[in-house]
């Protein structure tokens, strides 16, 4: 990976990706072309904050509060993975 996720970037889901609750599996899921990603609660929390308003730094802080531990690497590597698939856009202004 050459790019890293900028802490000031404000991630949002790509236009063609949908996140919704799947009642059959009792999980949040991400839906895109020919792909279904079933999220665990942490993943769902992170993506729930990817609204184009929260920065990566905000999300790290918020997740840290919710889970009462340091989640920096977890959040950034998760976002980086999704960004490399173009499922998440992280504009940095």
């Amino acid at each position: 990976m050459t790019s890293t996720v900028p802490r000031t970037g404000r991630p949002r889901l790509a236009r063609f990706v949908k996140m919704r609750y799947d009642k059959a599996r009792e999980r949040q899921v991400l839906l895109g072309p020919e792909t279904v990603v079933v999220l665990n609660p942490t993943g769902a929390d992170i993506l729930g904050l990817c609204d184009g308003a929260h920065s990566v730094g905000d999300i790290v802080d918020e997740l840290g509060r919710r889970y009462d531990r340091v989640v920096d690497d977890e959040v950034t590597s998760f976002l980086e993975r999704l960004a490399s698939r173009r499922w998440v856009e992280i504009p940095d202004d």
Partner: protein, 380 residues
């Protein structure tokens, strides 16, 4: 941050077998369903409801050509209203601007357009109809209306040498995804196998070109390449396992664990007679090869049995007449000789002529075994 899901994720709704194209590798059955025998709009709405209840998250509208169904916009709207991710798999014939706008307003999420080659002569010849220019126009329209665009290309002996030029088209059209899928030999394609199976040399070149394009297009276009299993040592874990991830409903309402299973001598399960939940969970058809208990040797005692799940039941049946045998593609199968013979023919000097070894700028059409086109529709 992600988990492995249970139950069916996708429904492939084959709305009709009618199609303006007549490709010789069509995945539809040799025995096409008549238009008069197709499910009604209400039937399909109920199928979508039951699929959503079962945990299906994506609905793929396919055919034949799904745009030949007058109710396609209604069906997309219904699926979208259920929260399903909706996908249209189309030849693009019939995707006019007003129709496309109506589909967008109905909530359609994603469009897959098939192309047969990179340019009109070969593409129209393979499709059996003048269609290339319409496909290009429709692909541009898909992007213009803001959909993610996937281009579907079935690869075979007669177009695989043009893969570089095909990928240039993909780049020019700014497709978000391209599926370069080598032909799978069932039904029509099996009938035409001699004319379609590429040589090893053709494949190696195509894979090299694809690797280079994948690097070049990284971050812009996802390049998916499906290998031809005849050249593999081990079989594909077809559909991620029998009755495991996907289900197909055909135009007449028969449900299947995969596209080709209609060939198998198993009891039918029709959505007009049974609830889709029962069909998925309990029907003799969907439970026939679920898991590993059904396996004979060499699969039963093989350490790969959970990896490839015995391979493809349809391929075993079509090539050996026994749907419970190990997929003949497997090097451990006693029937591997059937595959080796086909591969040998595709690589022999006397074998079917290969259009061109050099990646020519213009297509070179040379005599090859005649392709048997599928008809556009079943006789009524």
């Amino acid at each position: 941050m992600t988990e492995t899901p249970d139950g069916p994720l996708g429904l492939l709704a084959e709305l009709t077998h009618a199609c303006p194209l007549s490709c010789a590798y069509c995945s539809n059955p040799l025995e096409l369903t008549k238009r008069s025998a197709e499910l009604t709009t209400d039937d399909w709405r109920r199928v979508l409801d039951e699929a959503a209840d079962l945990g299906v998250l994506q609905s793929h509208f396919s055919g034949g050509e799904p745009l030949l169904r007058r109710d396609i916009v209604d069906l997309v709207a219904h699926a979208s209203g259920l929260g399903l991710y909706t996908n249209l798999v189309t030849s693009a014939i019939g995707l006019s601007r007003p129709r496309a706008e109506a589909l967008r307003d109905a909530g359609l999420d994603h469009v897959q357009v098939s192309i047969q080659a990179d340019e009109p002569v070969l593409s129209d010849q393979l499709a059996g109809i003048s269609s290339f220019d319409k496909k290009m126009e429709a692909a541009r329209l898909v992007k213009e209306l803001g959909w993610p665009l996937t281009l579907n290309v079935v690869l075979h002996r007669q177009n695989i040498d043009r893969i570089g030029a095909i990928l240039e088209r993909v780049e020019e059209l700014q497709a978000d995804r391209v599926e370069l899928a080598n032909t799978q030999y069932y039904g029509w394609a099996l009938r035409n196998r001699e004319a379609l199976l590429p040589s090893r040399e053709q494949l190696e070149r195509a894979e090299q070109v694809t690797r280079e394009a994948r690097e070049r297009l990284r971050g812009r276009t996802d390049v998916i390449y499906v290998i031809p299993d005849y050249y593999s040592r081990y079989p594909k874990p077809c559909m991620g396992g029998w009755g495991s991830r996907q289900l197909v409903v055909g135009p007449e309402g028969n449900a299947w664990p995969c596209l080709s299973a209609h060939e198998l001598p198993l009891p039918r399960a029709n959505v007009t007679e049974h609830d889709l939940g029962w069909i998925w969970r309990s029907s003799p058809l969907f439970t026939a090869f679920r898991g590993t208990d059904w396996m004979p040797d060499p699969c039963r005692s093989c350490e790969r049995r959970e990896v490839d799940l015995g391979g493809c039941r349809c391929q075993a049946f079509q090539l050996t007449g026994d749907m419970t045998r190990t997929d003949p593609v497997c090097v451990l199968s006693p029937d591997r000789g059937i595959i080796d013979a086909a591969v040998e023919a595709a690589n022999s000097d006397e074998g079917p002529a290969v259009p061109s070894h050099e990646p020519a700028r213009e297509p070179v059409l040379v005599p090859v075994p005649a392709l048997v086109s599928r008809p556009h529709r079943a006789d009524e």
